[in-house]
Each structure stands twice: as structure tokens, then as C-alpha cells.
């Protein structure tokens, strides 16, 4: 590894772009911007820094190295949880589940029913942020059952329940549970499950998913930055090899 050299990981995702600068020992900077503003992250890269990109638009962003977000997640998670067995990456547009015990991946991207977009759509209906929706669900004493797996149909179901007199908090809790149920279908049985990605900051979501799986999910600090960190760590490893 070159002395004094910094390593940059950029996760150019579908909804947000994140940058992590790593000095070989620790993270010295992390930043997140909307996906369309990824150029602003690139502008902060210094000439001698090694850049590894990941995420959907990883090839679009100037880089020295690139790797998929699935591998980046594996490296980033290992820093906080080296004994992780399963990683659930809860993204805005898809959900990826990697079983590290047998290197098996499952992804749910056929529709938005198992992704953060499901909650975004519901939050828009209530005129609040996704975080607000999560807080509202936390206040619920009970929850309604949302049976539709399609997010569009789920919204119709949600509206008809509200019209029938269901409490907003209970509907919000039901929505989180419906999303968690969908994601849980992808998750194999394991003791040590780590949740990352933007949706992993959502406490109601983690509560619902943990309850369905019968496990307490582990969440690293700044779960939305884990893939960018993994990319930076890959740049470090590559630098040591070369």
C-alpha cells in the first residue's frame, strides 16, 4: 500500500450516490448525494487517490477499479461483522440477499413490492417522508393486514382500509409488515443476519423483518454507506496486491 495514500469508494446507486474516503485504517470522510449529483462526489477526488466504484452506475463514474455492489457489501460488512452469515441489502430499487455460507444470491427486482420504493409510494400518499412513515408505524398498537404483494394493489388496499376506519398508524405498521414479509421470502435461515442499505435505517422495517425471521438483525453504523466502504476496502486490497 502506498504510504499516505487515500482510497475512495463510490457507490453510484439508483437513488443515491455515496462516497467513502478511507486512509488505510479508518474512514476519514463519507458523503451521500442524490444519484443525479454523482459528479459532485467525483469532483472531491484528489489526483493520487485510488477510486473503486460500485452500484448500478459504477461504470459511468471514472474509476481505477470497479466491482458489483454484492461483492462490495460483502467486504464492507466484514469490517463490522466478520462472522456474518447472510447480508440483506435493502435498497431503494431492489433487495439483494447474499448467503455467505454457500455464496448464493437472491434478488428481488422484478417489481417494487420488495424494495424501498414500496414505502416511498406509501409515504407520498400520506404526504410525509419515509422516516415519518416509520415513526408513525412505531406508534401503532396494532397493525392491519395488507395482503397484496403488488405495491400498486397494496396502495389501493391501504386506501380502502383507511376509508373503512383503520387508524393511520396501524396501516403504516401493516405496510412495513407487508414489505418485510416479501423480503423475508428471500432470506435463508441463519443466526447472524446483517441488514444494510438505506432501508436498514428504518426502525419499523427492521422490527417487522426481525419479527418475521425470528432473529435480531445486525445493522452496521451508516448502513447506507457500507457498499461504498466495501469499494474503498477493495481499492486498499488491490493496492496491497499490486
Amino acid at each position: 500500500m502506498a504510504a499516505g495514500r487515500a482510497f475512495v469508494g463510490i457507490d453510484a446507486g439508483s437513488t443515491a450516490a455515496k462516497l467513502v474516503r478511507f486512509d488505510g485504517r479508518r474512514v476519514v470522510r463519507s458523503r451521500m448525494v442524490p444519484a443525479r449529483d454523482w459528479h459532485s462526489l467525483v469532483g472531491t477526488v484528489r489526483p493520487r487517490e485510488a477510486v473503486c466504484t460500485t452500484g448500478y452506475f459504477r461504470r459511468k463514474v471514472p474509476h481505477h477499479l470497479t466491482l458489483t455492489e454484492i461483492s462490495a457489501a460483502r467486504l464492507g460488512v466484514a469490517r463490522s461483522f466478520p462472522d456474518a452469515e447472510v447480508i440483506i441489502d435493502l435498497g431503494g430499487q431492489d433487495t439483494k440477499v447474499t448467503d455467505l455460507r454457500n455464496l448464493t444470491l437472491q434478488m428481488n427486482d422484478r417489481c417494487s413490492a420488495g424494495t424501498g420504493a414500496f414505502l416511498e409510494q406509501a409515504a407520498r400518499y400520506f404526504g410525509m417522508s419515509v422516516e415519518g412513515l416509520s415513526r408513525m408505524a412505531e406508534r401503532a398498537r396494532d397493525r392491519v393486514d395488507i395482503n397484496s404483494t403488488c405495491s400498486v394493489f397494496a396502495q389501493s388496499e391501504m386506501i380502502s382500509m383507511l376509508e373503512r376506519g383503520a387508524r393511520r398508524e396501524e396501516v403504516a405498521a401493516g405496510l412495513h409488515h407487508a414489505l418485510a414479509r416479501r423480503i423475508a421470502e428471500l432470506v435463508p435461515d441463519a443466526e447472524r443476519i446483517v441488514a444494510i442499505g438505506g432501508v436498514a435505517r428504518n426502525r419499523s422495517m427492521l422490527f417487522a423483518l426481525g419479527a418475521i425471521l425470528g432473529r435480531r438483525l445486525r445493522v452496521p453504523p451508516e448502513p447506507q454507506m457500507v457498499n461504498a466502504l466495501g469499494a474503498a476496502l477493495h481499492a486498499v486490497a488491490h493496492s496491497s496486491q499490486s
Binding site: 477499479l65 458489483t68 454484492i70 461483492s71 460483502r74 454457500n102 455464496l103 448464493t104 444470491l105
Partner: protein, 335 residues
């Protein structure tokens, strides 16, 4: 079979594997009605499976002109059976072909005899006999070449993409066994210049991908396909009579219980030192329900890919392939 005879041969569309040697022997030309789909931009209406819905629409719309349709009604999926029955309304004659779930060779022989009867002429009768024997020999010769090409590809000495394209065509031998055999022979010759492929050897199991560049996408992800399950099934060699053909085709694993299929898979994956498996299933395909069982029994890293409409391999699927390659330690992104 002379060229003049081939021009006159009537076309029998087949919805899945139906012994092509028997169709040629009866003086017909088989046409696997699936094989044009990956190269097309078919967008069928009212679909569950895009494979079956695409050929259904093409038959109903008159783009696929057939003299007869042979629907595999037992041993393939119900989508094919349902779409086959709808498509049959625009085909003069339709026959329903059943594989034995229990592998009963006697039952299989009965099915081959029924097919022979439907096509009119077969291995029987002095007049037809010479032509039939010649057809059987041409198909067998091409299949022997196919087995050679398959072995070269498995050893990393032939291009996986062009090998797959050839192997998948063994269901109908592109309407001309002799010419098709020549084409396979040229691929074998060309393999001498093949520089080899890098990366972990993987098996592609399940139904064939509906994406026309899937093998290229695998190669770009650093994955070296060394086994294609379904096309390998097409390479079965029969004999010169219905009984020996029946013995061979009654072991067609896709039509048998999943345990029987697992036997073939375990043997071939071990023989080829496969390091990972790509399980391809079509959206809404019943084979997806077997995914958990295959993961449990085959004890190798497995990536499941679901395809829908034909065309180029979508970015989402490429991402999966690339990540799988990284996990298996392939290429520059290896971690």
C-alpha cells in the same frame, strides 16, 4: 435424404423435444418452434411464459407456417399444452405426445408408434425403409459430432456461446441433418484456433435462457459455461428401431421425476468439476418451484436467474452474473 426430397418435406412443428430422427425417418422436417424466439423481439399478448406465448402468437399470426404441430403434452409444462391447443386452431393437424413420467420404455414405444402413425410413414414398410434408415444414420452422425463438440467445450477447448447455439439446435437439426452435421464439424475444426476461456467452470441448468447473448454475458462476467443441461439432453443417440429409440428417449430427464434429473446433474457436475450453477427459469415457470430442492441437493453455489421477454440479457441479469463471477473468484473483480 436428397436435397429434392428435403424441399418437398412437410414441416412438423415441435413444442419441445420430440425424437427428430423419427420425424426425419417419416419423411417430414421437424421445426423446433422455440428456436427463433431469442433472436426475435417477440412481445406476445396474454402471456404467462414468453417462450410458449411467442410461438402461439407466431402460429396464429401466420408467421410460423406448419403442416402439422406436435405438442409435447406429457413431460413439458401446462403453459405449452394450453398454448399448443390454442395454436392448434391455425394448424391443419395436431398430435399430442406424452413422455412417460415413470420411464416405462414400453409406454414410450407406444408413443413413438402413435407419432409414426400420425406422420404417416415411419420405419416400417419396404418403400420407406431405405429413406428412414438413411435419415436415422444422418441424425446419429450429426449427434456424434455434437457430442464431440460438447466434450471440447467442457474441456475449455471450444467457445461456449457458439457451442450452445449448435447444441440447442439438435432438437430439429435445423431441418437438414447432413448440412447441420457439416456445420457442427466446422465448429469442431474452428475449435483448433480457440484460445481457451478463463474463469470458474459453471453449469447452466433449467430451461434455455430466452436471451440471445446469455453465454456472452456469462463470459464477460468471467464465467465459463461447461455444461448446458437441456441441450445436452438433445444429444441422445437412439438405434435403428422404435424399441431402441424408446429406450433412449424414456430417460429424457426433464420429463421424469426430479430425483431422476438430479442423478444426471450430480453425475455431470462432478465429471466436469463445476464450481457454480446458474439455474435459469422463465418468469412464471413451474421449474422455479424446484429451485429450493436443487439448491439443497446440488451443494454448489447457485445463482437463479429469471427471464421474461426475449432480447439481449438485461443489465439486472448481467449484474447478477458479474456478482456471481466475483463470488466464485473470477476475473478482475475477484475478492
Amino acid at each position: 435424404m436428397g436435397r429434392r426430397g428435403r424441399r418437398k418435406a412437410r414441416v412438423a412443428g415441435i413444442t419441445a423435444l420430440v425424437p427428430p430422427e423419427l420425424i426425419y425417418a417419416a419423411g417430414w422436417r421437424p421445426l423446433d418452434i422455440n428456436n427463433w424466439i431469442p433472436g426475435s423481439d417477440a412481445r406476445p399478448r396474454s402471456k404467462l411464459c414468453a417462450w410458449t406465448a411467442s410461438w402461439r402468437e407466431a402460429i396464429l399470426g401466420g408467421e410460423l407456417k406448419l403442416d402439422a404441430l406436435v405438442v409435447v403434452a406429457g413431460g413439458d409444462c401446462h403453459n405449452a399444452l394450453a398454448d399448443g391447443q390454442v395454436a392448434a386452431r391455425n394448424v391443419g393437424r395436431t398430435h399430442y405426445f406424452f413422455y412417460p413420467f415413470d420411464g416405462d420404455a414400453g409406454y414410450m414405444e407406444g408413443q413413438l408408434r402413435a407419432l409414426e402413425g400420425f406422420l404417416g410413414e415411419g420405419l416400417r414398410g419396404e418403400r420407406a425403409h431405405d429413406r428412414a434408415m438413411r435419415a436415422l444414420e444422418e441424425v446419429a452422425a450429426a449427434k456424434r459430432l455434437g457430442l464431440r463438440l460438447e466434450a471440447l467445450r467442457s474441456a475449455g477447448r471450444a467457445d461456449p456461446g457458439s457451442t450452445f447455439d449448435a447444441l440447442i439446435s439438435f432438437s430439429d437439426l435445423e431441418g437438414d441433418p447432413a448440412r447441420f452435421g457439416g456445420k457442427v464439424e466446422r465448429l469442431i475444426d474452428a475449435s483448433r484456433d480457440f484460445r481457451g476461456t478463463e474463469g470458474p467452470g459453471v453449469a447452466l441448468i433449467g430451461v434455455p435462457p430466452i436471451y440471445r447473448d446469455f453465454h456472452r454475458a456469462c463470459a464477460e462476467a468471467g464465467l465459463r459455461v461447461v455444461f448446458d443441461e437441456l441441450p445436452y439432453e438433445f444429444l441422445r443417440l437412439g438405434g435403428h428401431d422404435l424399441r431402441s429409440l424408446a429406450r433412449s428417449y424414456s430417460t429424457y430427464t426433464f420429463a421424469r421425476p426430479v430425483e431422476f434429473r438430479l442423478g444426471l446433474l450430480k453425475r455431470e457436475l462432478s465429471r466436469r468439476k463445476v464450481r457454480g450453477i446458474i439455474h435459469y427459469a422463465q418468469f412464471t415457470c413451474h421449474h422455479l418451484l424446484e429451485d429450493g430442492l436443487l439448491r439443497e441437493e446440488l451443494d454448489l453455489p447457485m445463482l437463479t436467474v429469471q427471464g421474461d421477454l426475449p432480447g439481449r440479457t438485461p443489465a439486472q441479469v448481467r449484474l447478477r452474473l458479474e456478482a456471481f463471477g466475483e463470488l466464485l473468484g473470477a476475473g478482475k473483480g475477484a475478492i
